[in-house]
Amino acid sequence: MLHTLLKSIQKSTRTFSGGIDPEMSKITAAAAIATSMQPQLYILPIKQHIGEACEPIVSVGDHVKWGQKIARSQGYVSVPVHSPTSGKVVKIEEHATPHPSGMGLPSIFIEPDGKDTRDKSLKPIKAYRDTDPTELRERLRLCGIAGLGGAVFPTFIKLLKDNRNPIETLILNGIECEPYLTNDHRLMIEKAKEIIIGIDIIMHMVGAKKAIIAIEDNKPNALEMMQETLEILSESFPDSTRIEVCQLPTRYPQGSEKQLIEVLTGKQVPAGKLPMHIGVICQNVGTSKAIHDAIIKGRPLTERIVTVSGDAVPRPGNMRVRLGTPMRFVFAQHGLETFDHVHLLHGGPMMGEKLKNADVPVVKSTNGLLAMHSTSMKEAHKSEQPCIRCGHCGVVCPVSLVPNLLADQCRNKQFEKAESYDLFDCIECGACSYVCPSNIPLVHYFRYGKGQLAQIGREQNFAHASKQRSEHRDDRIAREKEEKAAKRRVVREKHVAKADDDKTSAGKPDHDKTADHKTADEKKPKTTDKTIQKDKPSPKSPPGKASSGKVSS
């Protein structure tokens, strides 16, 4: 009995609160990664990461090489965009991106010449262990590496050796807890060596003491593959003992960064903090492979693995797709040509976003492309019923929020209240919407609430800035008026003094006269004479006139 108790305690340290066990439907798990054909036209949006957009540095008609930088980053949280093939820039204009709004971004259109000539300006860094981490970091930035798990946060920012926050543990995320998606799974099987070298590069860069490759127990072949590769590499690779492969029970959303860290280290990342503040960094296996390519081969990020799946796809599979390939072309290679009564999802079924149409390009965040028959999609959005207070949503919430309450607040526009109930801690995993027996689109309400709060914040900031500018303007106008008045006063006083002087014919020797006055007087005797003559007929009136003049101005 004590044994089972100990076991349950041990088990409880290896999990997170909440979570669900959705049907996994990983139908493409055994499909080897195929390589996509060349489309007739690549479409590259100038922003494929979280952060500031890039600025195109090529113009229409330019010939570009494979891997050549075509848009440079502006700002810190940004990585450049590279050409996915050699060819000609045919146009630069706005085009729809994979975004729920269906809105567009300026995009660079490249027509391939079929030669695939590589740009060789970036030299491979084979001896990365002897290279300064800052140089490697700059290389990763230049290669446009962003987190390939789906969040696309620029990777170089995370890989910072900071003495205030020393990194103890590197966690390599091979969880892939979203149903249907198998791109990380296949990558671990087919590119295990590259992933492990990528881990070694990251460990060198941040000075991590150990690394954990986390894999869920529904991917035993990936786990075996990683372990075998580690053993093979251990001969040439002294540090491989510091890399550990860890099997975790399948549970959604275990692949979420903060949840995975809690499972593996037992530490919680405080709200508003980053994993590095508790000495952990987390990278996706795909990112690790991209880091390997950038450092060892000197190749920028121009392709990624995409799972093309869903019940509307005749031949589902995993595919190496170059960034910028139109999704219609990707689906066509898997046998899906028409999109009537088909829902397209960018990402997995839990967190993915619905696409308006297939005429958008594959970008750095595209880990999965799902096409589902409309009939198999749950129509949660249409059939929302009243909340019955069953509490299931609170039980499954991995960040221990009260989803039903938050949804009520967002629905009734009590946004500040929702914020005080930690709306912004929601990771939008969709577990609450999944279990809700009343089909309430909870996550949709949270996204709405978050968007409205951000909008209110932006408006307040704008109002504050406008107010400040308006106040500065008022101050400036008042100051200018004052200065003008002061100038006029000086001139008037001078004239009055001159008139008095003239009248009494230097009768006041101690009269306040500055050197400037004197020189001015000496320089312009004629004008002063004139004014004196003007003033002379009414010698008593000038002071009154002067003051009244000042007031009227």
Binding site: P100, K382, E384, Q385, R411, Y445, S466, R469, S470
Partner: protein, 195 residues
């Protein structure tokens, strides 16, 4: 009789004592400015557009605080601002008659600009740059869309354009469900009950 005298004297002394304290407190804890006006001003969108009939947001806030203006005169603030001001002032909400259009920004057609600087002087938030006899241009991020620059322009080279929506500023709409619509309706009914 003595009772009456002592009582009167005692109360007189008390009155004097408290009067002195109040007088001192009134001096020491005097509040500068008008706190109600400041609170109202912080609710206004600060476009300085003058559509309320006052020469800026601050004068309008002062007028509302002193009861000279109604709570529903801020056009760009719309219903939300009106409800907030009404709540703060403890008065009944009124309907906002002039509906604010979509957020606008001014745009100077530079080819036609003669560089007269009149629009620069008219801009309440210093969002137009330029110099005499040089083209002027509007700093898009700073423009509040108040339209005050349009009228002074002698060659009519300023257009008011709809502010382009940025992808980063897009936010999810309310879910398209019956219950979400119901919540909006109820909210409206609640507002009309309380008024």
């Amino acid at each position: 009789m003595t009772y009456l005298l002592t009582t009167t004297a005692a109360f007189g002394a008390f009155t004097l004592f408290f009067a002195v304290i109040l007088a001192i407190a009134g001096r020491v804890f005097k509040i500068e400015g008008n706190p109600i006006a400041d609170n109202i001003e912080s609710l206004l969108p600060q476009t300085q557009c003058g559509q309320c009939g006052f020469p800026g947001c601050k004068p309008y806030a002062g007028a509302v605080a002193s009861g000279e203006a109604e709570v529903n005169q801020c056009v760009p603030g719309g219903e939300r601002t009106m409800l907030q001001i009404a709540d703060l002032m403890g008065v009944e909400p009124k309907t906002v008659e002039d509906e604010a259009t979509a957020p606008m920004i001014a745009f100077v057609r530079e080819d036609e600009c003669i560089g007269c600087t009149l629009c620069i002087k008219a801009c309440p938030v210093d969002a137009i740059v330029g110099a005499p006899k040089q083209y002027h241009t509007v700093i898009t991020e700073h423009c509040t869309g108040c339209t005050l620059c349009v009228e002074p322009c002698p060659v009519d080279c300023i257009d008011m354009l709809i502010k382009p929506e940025l992808l980063e500023h897009w936010s999810w709409p309310l879910p398209d469900t019956h219950r979400a619509q119901l919540a909006i309706e109820r909210k409206g009914q609640h507002a009309s009950h309380t008024s």
